[in-house]
Amino acid sequence: MRPSAVRLLNILVPVKRAVDYAVKIRVNPEQTGIDLNVKHSMNPFDEIAVEEAVRIRERLKDAVKSIKVVTIGPPKSSETLRTALAMGADSAIHVEIPESAPSPEPLGVAKALKAIIERQSEGVDVVIMGKQAIDDDAGQTGQMLAGLMGWAQATFASKVDVDAAQKVAHVTREIDGGLEELRCRLPLVVTTDLRLNEPRYASLPNIMKAKKKPLEKLTPADLGIDFTPRLETIKVTEPPKRVGGGKVENVDQLLAKLKEAGITARRA
């Protein structure tokens, strides 16, 4: 794998088709998972990733050579790719797995992405992806990919500034203590956090243009990847139902209640 030619960036944005954020999730009767017969859409963090790639191109203009989106999923996932194309990506890759196949796990996805990157004759300079998917909340794929590729990683990004000429990126990360600023050499994996940007709506003219953009179909065999899960889900249950709280009149009562519940203050 070679980095791309001088000063032109190739951006790869992996996206995932997940249960829509507004759906009321229900556990299935067998308690093996959730009812998947519901509305699906692009993982919100991945939308932010696509948006960021498009904004990077708007800022750097011709310095961005290509924005490719890729997804690993059943036939319906191609809709997710079309949405990304309508937002401004140039081309798409669909690694198609059967409808009945279990959802790929982060390590499998990371390995597949590595294989895809290595297939790109012009290389990939920046991978921008969601920090986690809202269905499994794993939050591992970006980090695993960077590890497998031996690349820099900047996760939970709330600001990304790419300098194509210098081949570096300045990334602000949201961490527990506040914000961290990193200067990373390309090639780089960035994972997006909520406050990075607000994704645009796909306008009608762009939706029409998206129909003509290229979409390449691949199978796991084409990449030499086995998506067999390494984890077995034993049981899925709903969280315990909320019980009502109580109201207190003043701070003394509050303290009394807390003490009752066994919560005591500790000296700092």
Binding site: A86, Y201, A202, S203, P205, N206
Partner: protein, 370 residues
């Protein structure tokens, strides 16, 4: 994907403003700009002219989705697309299309000016006159009940160039606000309050001769044909309205419990809800079928009249029921359910009253059976 995109835009951008626009009886320019940015103001217009180059059915779907959130915004988009844009696309010369379609697709709101104080259903009894003056026409008269007129910059005005020819003198002109079109009165309405409905005055309005659309005396035929298509647009608006009211009220009935159970699960309520669902579906199929027939080049006048008539009837019924299902909460303006009922009334009146639609349908039946 188009439906999803419009739905999202409608829910996220239009949704928060609906109540305020209704209370203030005013359309926010942010919403109008948003529609332009989304490509929703040139849905069928070709890409060459800056449009989205989508099908008629796409426009119908967009109008439906907008109406689920705000029928006022929906009708603004409908009139602009199915009346103004379509007239230019179907009857404009290449020069006229090149000049006007990009403006209409990208930034300028359009308005369709046919009705007058003394001519509504009897549209072609219009009195506005156009007199030739060299290479200009001088228009004098007044239009009433004109949608979009407060915010519009481009106006299609129907005037008679030769009253002695009766309706055969009616001609369609394209004019811009800055030619001197005056807004005489903005109506205060029961429903679709955010959609501007104004009386316009033309006082010696000078329009260049090149602004005649479709040729002198062709305005009658042009208007009849275009209103046919516009009818399907209104059907879509009423359909979206009914669905929007239904979608707002029904979930509430499964949450509100009385006598130990959600009120929506009492059989009486469940049956009403089921019936409303059937009615909405029937209006949907009438609307989509009319759109399909039009796209296939088949005659669709009867089907369009049926769709518009029926959709407006069920819109009123379902939105009225939605208020009752939500009880007291449905009666307050806060939840936005009652707004759908107020908005639905116009469906039986504009773009051809229900009686006119029935007359149209009756004529077809009579022709077929006698």
């Amino acid at each position: 994907m188009l439906r999803e995109s419009v739905k999202r835009f409608a829910n996220e951008v239009v949704g928060p403003k609906v109540r305020e626009m209704d209370e203030k009886e005013s359309m926010e320019s942010e919403i109008i700009n948003g529609l332009f940015e989304q490509g929703l103001m040139g849905i069928e217009t070709s890409a060459v002219h800056g449009g989205a180059e989508c099908s008629f059915t796409s426009a119908i779907i967009a109008i439906e989705e907008l109406a689920k959130v705000d029928p006022s915004v929906s009708v603004m988009c409908d009139v602009h697309n199915t009346l103004v844009n379509t007239i230019l696309r179907q009857h404009g010369t290449k020069e006229q299309q090149d000049k006007w379609l990009p403006q209409l697709a990208q930034s300028k709101l359009g308005s369709f000016c046919l009705s007058e104080a003394a001519s509504g259903s009897d549209a072609f009894a219009l009195q506005t006159r156009a007199k030739k003056d060299g290479d200009h026409w001088i228009i004098n008269g007044s239009k009433m009940w004109i949608t979009n007129s407060y915010e519009a910059e481009i106006f299609l005005v129907f005037a008679n160039v030769d009253p002695s020819k009766g309706y055969k003198g009616i001609t369609c002109f394209i004019a811009t606000k800055d030619m001197g079109i005056k807004i005489a009165k903005k109506e205060e309405k029961l429903g679709i309050r955010a959609s501007s409905t104004c009386t316009l005055n033309f006082d010696d309005l000078r329009i260049p001769a090149e602004n005649v659309i479709g040729g002198e005396g062709k305005g009658y035929k042009l208007a009849i044909e275009i209103l046919n298509e516009g009818r399907i647009g209104i059907a879509a608006q009423m359909l979206g309205l009914a669905q929007g009211a239904f979608d707002k009220a029904v979930p509430y009935t499964y949450q509100r419990t009385q006598f130990g159970q959600p009120v929506g699960t009492f059989q009486g309520m469940a049956f009403q809800i089921a019936q409303a669902a059937v009615e909405i579906e029937s209006a949907r199929l009438l609307t989509y079928n009319a759109a399909r027939r039009k796209e296939e080049g088949k005659a669709f006048t009867k089907e369009a009249a049926m769709a518009k008539y029926w959709a407006s009837v069920i819109a009123q019924r379902v939105s009225g029921q939605a208020i009752e299902w939500a009880g007291g909460v449905g009666f307050t303006r806060e939840t936005g359910i009652e707004k759908f009922w107020r908005d639905s009334k116009i469906g039986a009146i504009y773009e051809g009253t229900s009686n006119i639609q029935l007359q149209t349908i009756a004529k077809f039946v009579q022709k077929q059976y006698s």
